[in-house]
């Protein structure tokens, strides 16, 4: 049974300026000890997806209009707030992009980690603090006994991110979400953080969902990849398959840009659409070189084109023939 399975998830944001369709029929599964990378640009809905899984979607204006999320068989969306809270931090956790603002600036790092043990395991704060020190050591922070007493602003960016990872994996969750965990860091530190996440995953067997716009990072660690555009998953499959031979025109564009091998820079023309005013038919068609009347009229369904590889495009064969 997959660790996490998402079926037909749709999320809307209803605001004064219209309704934004942030997620449209998302289908995903992640297995135990598997790393899934969700690749997309800003506005693709990837952060909304992460927050919906974590359960921190702000409910007005956001609404789940359809679908199911199952964590180890538990239907998350059917839970009441209290039961969901029991799972948050314990069975599902998230590493945020900017550790400086994700920590409470007024409390020591060790305290904030100890808090998780206090809430979920009813451990006294002092004992939790000891566990925190151990965790900080595990994530590679030197001098953890002292560092645990430090405040967030006193740590460097890389160490802060490690501390946040420690906080997230404290209770060894089944699913770890990482929302752009390395974007704010230097390249050298990036590699270290990704290695850390990898080793933790192997150690605990948790499923890692990595959200990023950086294909290189995804290529390094991902087992499976899902490409998101305008709230839909346009291509999904094993990392090797999707990243070496993408079938969706958008995915192809992204990979081409990332590899940067061609002499001329081939950009994907146009801009991502406004989620409250989506184009008719396929959301990508205004920017797609293969677009035709069918694409303008009908939003393509997700089709399985190979083993464990699916695409949402009317013309994936032509697209891949050209690639």
């Amino acid at each position: 049974m997959p660790q996490l399975s998402i079926e037909d998830l749709s999320v809307e944001f209803r605001t004064a300026r219209g309704t934004a369709h942030a997620l449209r029929q998302i289908n995903l599964t992640v297995d135990r000890a598997e790393t899934l990378a969700i690749i997309g640009e800003s506005g693709s809905g990837k952060s909304v997806l992460a927050r919906t899984i974590l359960g921190t979607l702000v409910s007005p204006p956001g609404h789940v209009t359809a679908g199911r999320i199952r964590l180890n068989g538990i239907d998350l969306l059917a839970l009441d707030a209290r039961s969901y809270r029991k799972l948050q931090g314990d069975r599902v956790a998230m590493v945020f992009q900017d550790a400086l603002v994700a920590f409470n600036p007024l409390y020591q790092i060790g305290w904030q980690i100890a808090e998780v043990f206090n809430i979920h395991r009813y451990m006294p704060m002092k004992a939790g603090f000891e566990r925190a020190i151990g965790l900080l050591r595990r994530v590679g922070i030197p001098n953890p006994e002292q560092r645990a007493h430090a405040y967030p602003h006193q740590l460097s960016g890389g160490m802060r991110q490690r501390a946040m990872i420690a906080l997230a994996v404290a209770l060894e969750p089944d699913v770890l979400l990482a929302d752009e965990p390395t974007t704010a860091l230097d390249v050298t530190v990036q590699a270290q953080i990704m290695a850390l996440l990898e080793s933790l995953r192997q150690e605990t067997g948790m499923a890692l969902i990595l959200i990023t716009h950086d294909i290189a990072v995804a290529a390094e660690v991902a087992d499976r990849v899902a490409v998101m555009y305008a709230g839909r998953i346009v291509e999904e499959g094993r990392a090797i398959d999707v990243l070496s031979k993408p079938r969706h025109p958008y995915a192809q564009g992204l990979v081409a840009l990332a590899s940067g091998s061609s002499a001329t820079v081939v950009a994907i023309p146009g801009l991502p659409p406004d989620l409250s005013e989506l184009p008719t038919g396929c959301a990508f068609h205004p920017r797609c070189t293969f677009a035709d009347d069918l694409c303008r009229r009908r939003d393509p369904a997700t089709r399985s084109i190979a083993e464990q590889h699916s695409v949402a495009c009317h013309h994936s064969e032509e697209a891949s023939a050209d690639a």
Binding site: R51, G55, G89, A93, A102, L106, E115, I119, Y151, H153
Partner: protein
């Protein structure tokens, strides 16, 4: 160690103003007219006036008087009160506690009310509670305090006979004064608490905490309030001067023997020494309050501690 740094910094900032105040008050007070003439009855002979002036040193040239005054201040001797046969400083200290109680009670009431109301409003923004609360609080803060005091007396004392009109005494005597005085403080405090709490509740670390399963109550008490405290404390510091302003009126109307009323009566009575002593004591008090505020910043926010 850090305490000295904080006090030292405040002293440096305030020294100039304190000196300026001390000098200005001296000269201004003297400008209100010859005390001998004003103090003694109208039909006093010029000789009597001259004698009075001589006895109290008012016949000396201005700079001499200032010398005596300055020397006196350093020894905390403000001279004698003309109205009462007592050192001016004693007179002021006699009135001090009343005002302190008034100000502290007002600020406490305002804090409790505004934290509760402001937090509730922030949790349900745009709701009826929020909108009605904002209207009430803003309206309350915009009312003229002397008028509200009179209205309160009209309603509670004259019509309903529930509360005493004036004078010091038991708790009942303080309800209206504190109530009236706290109106303005509540107005601004509630809005600050509300705004600050809303900003905090929307911030990433609150979302991160929710994502760890931290419950609502814990979020409010541990994560939100402490962060919201910072702008609130700043405001409290600023409000003290405003509340002191209010005491002038409230003490006068409700007959409370505090510093505000003392100031007015001693100005009217040309009691220089007391006027000077009052102003300086108030200035020093505000100085002390500011230091307490600065200290509490360090206590609350680790980013401030160097």
């Amino acid at each position: 160690m850090a305490i000295f740094a904080i006090v030292g910094r405040r002293l440096g900032q305030s020294l100039l103003s304190l000196l300026f105040l001390v000098t200005a008050v001296f000269f201004i007070a003297r400008m209100t007219g010859d005390p001998g003439q004003l103090y003694l009855p109208l039909d006093a002979t010029p000789e009597a006036v001259a004698q009075f002036d001589k006895a109290h040193g008012f016949d000396q040239p201005a700079y001499r008087q200032f010398e005596r005054y300055a020397a006196g201040i350093v020894h905390l001797d403000f001279g004698q009160s003309l109205r009462r046969e007592a050192p001016a400083l004693d007179v002021v200290f006699e009135a001090f506690p009343t005002t302190v109680v008034l100000v502290v009670a007002t600020e406490l009431v305002a804090l409790v009310f505004s934290v509760v109301a402001g937090s509730l409003m922030a949790l349900r923004p745009g709701s009826l509670l929020d909108r009605a609360g904002t209207v009430l609080v803003v309206a309350g803060a915009s009312l003229p305090d002397f008028w509200v005091a009179l209205m309160a007396i009209l309603v509670f004392s004259v019509s309903l006979h529930v509360l005493p009109t004036s004078g010091p005494g038991g708790i009942l005597h303080w309800i209206m004064p504190v109530g009236v005085l706290s109106l303005r403080a509540v107005g601004s405090l509630t809005q600050v608490v509300r705004g600050s709490t809303m900003e905090i509740l929307a911030s990433p670390y609150i979302e991160a905490a929710r994502g760890r399963g931290v419950g609502n109550i814990r979020i409010l008490f541990f994560h939100s309030l402490r962060n919201a405290a910072i702008p609130v404390i700043t405001l409290v510091g600023i409000q003290v001067a405003g509340i002191l302003n209010g005491t002038v009126i409230v003490e006068t109307i409700f007959g409370l023997p505090g510093i505000g009323r003392l100031l007015v009566t001693s100005i009217l009575g040309r009691d220089f020494a007391v006027v000077e002593a009052t102003v300086i004591v108030v200035a020093l008090t505000i100085f002390a309050v500011n230091i307490v505020i600065d200290l509490s910043y360090s206590a609350i926010d680790p980013r401030v501690r160097a």
